[in-house]
């Protein structure tokens, strides 16, 4: 048995390709997940967020209609978003660094390049469970911290201390949890 109770998680798989959905769902079931929901496009996924309140989303980028990046942006910034902190793992055939940057700027937690492998899916899930990134809110961005993990080589003054933290306008339950670091 896995050390995790994946059966307790509600996982939403968003991909317009039914074969890829079946592949990912099969992998998740083998990990022990049983509450798996599927959406064939971003619009349906957006509606399902309210219906099922998933704990994590595995999201394709390239879809007809709303793209994965647009969906992620909506989750993070829309006033209608039921959970702006929802962990999002993006699965995509895009592999160029510009695409990784776009996904990161949309608020994606983890990036997983296709072809999908069992180990890669597992590793990304472990990553959002064990090593969640702090969230950052600036004038132009809201989402997981975009710094690369382990980028502690910077030895200058603490850059975020140059700015005064401000209270969240629309998330009062989290406004006092400032600057708590990941282990």
């Amino acid at each position: 048995m896995s050390g995790y109770r994946f059966d307790r998680l509600k996982i939403l798989v968003v991909d317009d390709n039914q074969h890829m959905r079946k592949l990912v769902v099969t992998i998740l079931q083998a990990f022990g997940a049983i509450q798996i929901f599927e959406a064939p496009n971003g619009e349906r996924a957006w509606a399902q967020l309210r219906e099922i309140n998933p704990d994590v989303v595995l999201l394709d980028w390239q879809m007809d209609g709303m793209s994965g990046v647009e969906f992620a942006h909506l989750v993070r910034t829309s006033p209608q978003s039921p959970n702006p902190f929802l962990p999002i793992i993006m699965l995509t055939g895009h592999t160029h660094v510009d695409h990784v940057r776009q996904a990161r700027d949309a608020g994606v937690n983890e990036f997983l390049a296709k072809p999908v492998s069992v180990k890669a899916v597992f590793t990304r899930l472990v990553s959002v469970i064990e090593h969640p990134r702090p969230f950052v809110r600036t004038k132009t961005y809201f989402g997981p911290c975009r710094r690369r993990r382990g980028s502690d080589e910077y030895r200058g003054p603490e850059r975020r201390n140059l700015c005064e933290p401000t209270a969240l306008d629309d998330e009062p339950t989290h406004q006092n949890k400032l600057a708590e670091r990941t282990p």
């Binding site: 998680l9 074969h19 890829m20 704990d55 969640p132 969230f135």
Partner: protein, 164 residues
């Protein structure tokens, strides 16, 4: 430089609270179960990739009959799916040809400038690799074909860059 208000905070780790436990590195039992489950899917892979190739063919026909942004987007999405999935479905050369096709469509930007013969060559190459069931990356003929297509795409992109 102007100061920009920045807030950094750690939301409660609801995932960790739900799944409990701890995993150091990989859970090999879970990995093995999932890999075994993937094995059982393999007999469906041929049908799946056949469906994806048929979709690519339809997208190409649609684009050839009516060149516009919508049909170009359909063609890109169909090739992008193959780029991402064909290797999983055990056709690495199809993934590579599809990747070359994606690069052409994506980087050329203008659908009007997409060279019809080069698009068709990619679609036909994918069909032939599938028809001949070429799954090994050591197949010399397929490798030559793929490298030739990639070179032609580079040339087309360079030509387009020079005409800008």
């Amino acid at each position: 430089m102007s100061k920009q208000p920045t807030e950094v905070f750690m939301p409660p780790n609801m995932l960790k609270a739900k799944v409990g436990g701890t995993i150091q590195g990989l859970d090999m039992a879970a990995i093995q179960r999932a890999e075994a489950a993937m094995e059982t899917l393999k007999e469906e892979f041929t049908d799946w990739i056949a469906a994806d190739i048929a979709r690519l063919g339809m997208a190409y026909d649609g684009f050839a009959a009516n060149r516009n942004k919508s049909t170009a987007d359909d063609l890109f999405r169909a090739s992008h799916d193959l780029k991402g999935q064909a290797a999983t479905f055990e056709y690495p050369f199809i993934a590579r040809v599809a990747s070359s096709l994606c690069k052409l469509i994506d980087e050329l930007k203008s659908h009007e400038a997409l060279p019809a013969t080069l698009l068709e060559a990619h679609v036909n190459a994918i069909r032939v690799i599938f028809r001949d069931n070429i799954k090994s990356t050591s197949n010399f003929t397929a490798l030559t074909l793929v490298e030739e297509l990639e070179a032609r795409v580079r040339e087309a992109l360079e030509r387009a860059a020079h005409t800008l």
